[in-house]
Subunit: 301 residues, 2 copies
Amino acid sequence: MSSKKQIVQCVPNFSEGRDLAVVEKIADAFRNTPDVKLLDYSSDEDHNRCVITALGEAKAMKEAVIKAVGTAFELIDMTKHEGQHPRMGAADVVPFVPIKDITMEETVALAESVAEEIAEKFGQPIFLYEKAAKTPGRENLAKVRKGQYEAMAEKIKEAEWKPDFGPTEMPPQTGVTAVGARMPLVAYNINLDSSDPEVADKIAKKVRHISGGLRYCKGMGVELKDRGIVQVSMNMTDYSKTALYRVFELVKIEAQRYGVNVVGSEIVGAVPMEALIDSAAYYLRLEDFTMDQVLETSLME
Amino acid sequence: MSSKKQIVQCVPNFSEGRDLAVVEKIADAFRNTPDVKLLDYSSDEDHNRCVITALGEAKAMKEAVIKAVGTAFELIDMTKHEGQHPRMGAADVVPFVPIKDITMEETVALAESVAEEIAEKFGQPIFLYEKAAKTPGRENLAKVRKGQYEAMAEKIKEAEWKPDFGPTEMPPQTGVTAVGARMPLVAYNINLDSSDPEVADKIAKKVRHISGGLRYCKGMGVELKDRGIVQVSMNMTDYSKTALYRVFELVKIEAQRYGVNVVGSEIVGAVPMEALIDSAAYYLRLEDFTMDQVLETSLME
């Protein structure tokens, strides 16, 4: 409860999901850094990959991430890596997410400084991606990682794919790392009183960005067989610009066309406070409300 | 960011609003206690009274409150006190409010332990009030304080008004103190597209508890002359049982009768996160949502 801290989330992915001792050592970097909290970590044998979710003060997070990346570079050998999930490096992707009292610009600057230090300290080639990308061609991670580890040694020698930091000569053991910044994802599903997967799919196509819908919404139709209903399953990629209430109301409107009703919605996993309070403010028609009025914000300073 | 802390708010009122040096010394007790945050303090000359708002870990808050009460007992002399606001002691009322990871029962226990220690340490007569009251007759602060300081020396000698802690002989300099527990208040106003104060007043009477409305709602009609509209001005005394969306929808329904529309609403001052998220959950028809999913809660542990 001292002065305001800039809080970020970091969700790095490492190319190890089978040797759990290695996963634990990577997680330790977050567990043992003051002002950083290890929220979750999970590994998948088929993917041979682990995902860490950590929350903490920006500078402390930088320190923890660099320590974790160093551990991964020491203990993972990409020349022997096999797994179903696309990957290009031992530390594969390192996205930073602004949570509190930090702007996206500042989060991008943090990502850049982490990328620079990883490149210098370990001689690692780094791509900046998503909001940290220096060119539009590098925003999309799938494009950056295309060809995966096996093609990366050649790819980073091309002028178009010169790394943002580090050498153009790929270190075989550690590969290439993508460091980026993005908004928090909100996994948001809307349930319909229909058992027809086609209805959910048609509605998803109306509301999602790629086919003409809301800018920060990805989605598809999903069947919930045990409940005998269908759902529009979405990822909201920037709740501050595409609000939950907006997609909820839009799905209701699209559903009317098929004589279908919205029966409920669900948030899977974590959601920033503001994403929900923003919807409360819409429905209650709140005037002049600011997030500072939320009592708990003074607990987070 | 260590283990979960029990967080309470405390809003003590002291009988000094003119000598600001005294007010500062009382505020210092909260300012200088680790794990306690002084959120706000204000004093009023006419009332000759100051109100402190502090937030912090339960045990630390107990320590800060006892220190502040001791300072007030040392520096305020009730035999010379004059002011427009009802009062009965140098430390007049000390309400504790549960905020995070603490139940109302635990908050009542905290209030009792503070009351006991103030009585023992300073020889102060104490009444427990609101949720901490031991009998229904002491729930209402106005009844407890009736007669004010001037009548209190006699009142606490009556069997009915024997203090919950401390002597039945009132110390003249410090008077009597009420210590209690309550839910956070939410000051919530709903604006109507009418300029008729009677309409707002009639609606207030339908929705407030005392005249047949919602259990934890107090309210009255108010005229906003500068905007040319009227408003139903309310205090929600337990948002966990009488939700904001419920009173909002009820005011809409009552307003229809007069051909009047709700144009907006406003929250004055602080509001607990859950009071708004609960309304978002209602309107978005959220299924199986828990407050643990709110990302920021892990920042408050």
